[in-house]
């Protein structure tokens, strides 16, 4: 068979590593094979399986811009494989296979206002999409970003939020459950900020990423204000091992989150998403 196995990782060299606190690093990677980059053509929101030879693989979304040569992965150090990645730096080589899954609806959102609601440390899958829109600013209407963290130190990419905040026709609202003295933004949960955001349901697309309980309340609130379910997109997290819809771990009802997601239109997952233990 001449078909290339979908399970073969492609070597990629770490060119740059930026750290956001002790346990989150962004790695910029260059594929070593000269002809490999076109196979990794992606849409923000899609992910790669990042491979450490002899150790294992983890599913990580791609946070760079699709038109850049290099691929960026922002990785939180939480388990066995990422702990090994933690010790790697420029010159070291990782494996990549992908891209997998669905991306954010950045074409569908063109010429519309976009509201982005994120919570916790799980905002990495959406930061690439926000950057994408700001780099193509004229294609999008008003951009509103609402981001909540448990404690102030969970706010990574503070400088990025500040940068977005300074852009024209953009609004950034940050909140924390446990404000400290240095915190100058809001306090409370994300949904408490919704009264402050203005949007026209007829020309707005909502992108969401974070804990399911947060998304649950956010959906209730914003739908109550007229936003249609088919304008709401969410990034869903599940256990992923194979990324090609075969290993069975990432199922959410009939959906394989690795290939049917991780970005879903709410109408597709509505009746399953908030059932406990599914």
């Amino acid at each position: 068979m001449t078909v290339r196995s979908p399970l073969l990782p492609e070597p990629a060299e770490i060119v740059e590593k930026r750290s956001y606190g002790p346990s989150i690093h962004a790695y910029r990677l260059r594929l070593l094979a000269a002809d490999a980059r076109p196979r990794f053509d992606f849409v923000p929101g899609q992910f790669n399986m990042v491979y450490v030879p002899g150790v294992g693989e983890v599913a990580i979304s791609i946070s760079s811009d699709p038109e850049e040569e290099m691929l960026e992965h922002t990785i939180r150090i939480v388990g066995r494989t990422t702990r090994v990645i933690d010790g790697l730096g420029p010159g070291d080589v990782l494996g990549l296979r992908g891209p997998y899954g669905t991306g954010w609806p950045l074409q569908e959102a063109r010429w519309k206002d976009v509201v982005v609601v994120t919570g916790g440390l799980g905002c990495a899958p959406v930061t690439g999409a926000i950057d994408y829109m700001f780099r193509r600013r004229a294609n999008y209407g008003r951009l509103t970003i609402v981001h909540g963290v448990k404690k102030p130190s969970d706010l990574i990419h503070r400088e990025r939020f500040e940068y977005w905040r300074r852009q024209e026709d953009a609004r950034v609202l940050l909140t924390t459950d446990e404000p400290d003295r240095a915190w100058r933004d809001r306090s409370g949960v994300v949904t408490e900020l919704f009264d402050e955001i203005e949007f026209d349901p007829s020309r707005t697309v909502l992108l969401m990423c974070g804990p399911e309980i947060m998304m649950h309340y956010a959906i209730q609130n914003l739908r109550g204000r007229g936003l249609a379910s088919d304008r709401i997109f969410l990034s869903i997290e599940r256990n992923m091992k194979c990324a090609v819809g075969l290993c069975g771990h990432c199922q959410l009802g009939p959906e394989f989150v690795c290939k049917d997601g991780p970005i879903f239109r709410l109408t597709r997952v509505e009746r399953l998403l908030f059932t406990r233990g599914l």
Binding site: P11, G56, G91, G277
Partner: protein
Amino acid sequence: MTGAKPAPAQFLARADLQRLLEALRARGYRVMGPVPRDGAVVFDEVRSVDELPRGLREAQEPGRYRLEPNGRDTVFDVVNGPGSLKPYVFAPREKLLQVEPEGRSFRAQELHPDAPKLAVIGVRACDLAALSVQDRIFLEGRYPDSYYAARRRQLFLVAVNCTRSASTCFCVSMATGPEATQGFDLALTEQEWGFLVRAGSALGREVQQALPLTPAPEAALARERTSLETCAATMQRKLETADLPEVLYRNLEHPRWHDVGSRCLSCGNCTMVCPTCFCHDEKDEPLLGEPDEAGVRSVRVREWDSCFNREHAQVYGLNYRPKIEDRYRQWLVHKLASWIDQFGTSGCVGCGRCITWCPVGIDLTEEMRALREPGA
């Protein structure tokens, strides 16, 4: 294997069954068949028909399996055991890749399974149906699985039509049996003096020509019809399928889940004996032996996993299915409902293995009946 209509039946005398094994071996096949082992019938290599379960049948009940004499000279009266075709195509443990250091980088190579020609005799209609379900999963998706494909194309399948059912069987409800109608190379129906033989593929016809066959007597064909019809008509267990998948999606919060969750041990036996369950884990294993100067070589392997394992839905800091009742619901809803959305077919073929091999005798047909009743 082709979908060609089975040829007219011919007759193979009981004393000539060994010739079938020899014809297959002569064509380079390793021949597997049902053999009694440790109190159950499993598939294993057979060199002689004397190794088949002669004069035996089995009694199956929820959580119970016993071989017992049937007082006759049969070899295929045991309907099934814990083993199916699954391990022959979807290996319980498959080496996928070999990875070795190369300078600062690494080289990953696909490992191709050593898949010898394999003939399996005594395959039941439900197992053929299960194989076609697995074909859809592993061969007909966006990423066809080369490992499965390599094993699959080496199979020669000799089906045996069921003329009796176990108490746990419900293939009639799932429309998969008791008669093998497709997906086999040869199909046999066992009778007093021998076997009715039909070919289902060109390869089957070729093997058939190597056998000392005679035209099937009309009386034998009539008796075959009667025995197959009786088997279907007397099947004890039933599963209502008309309202699937919806009835399960409507009942995701039914109190029965808690009830069955309190009985289920979450051992995963049902998923291991299920001929369609496909969940697997993938992991890297460092190779032992001479340490390479360049570093450690490793293989990437996949192994059967089960949605009943606690870690199945575990991500860092969060388990999406922490309770046993969550995991039982995942299994049953997947098997009978979401499988249909995913693959256009039910994940259940009615073989009843999950009922027999459940250590606490949980019976999915009974759970489904309870789930249709209004919750307390």
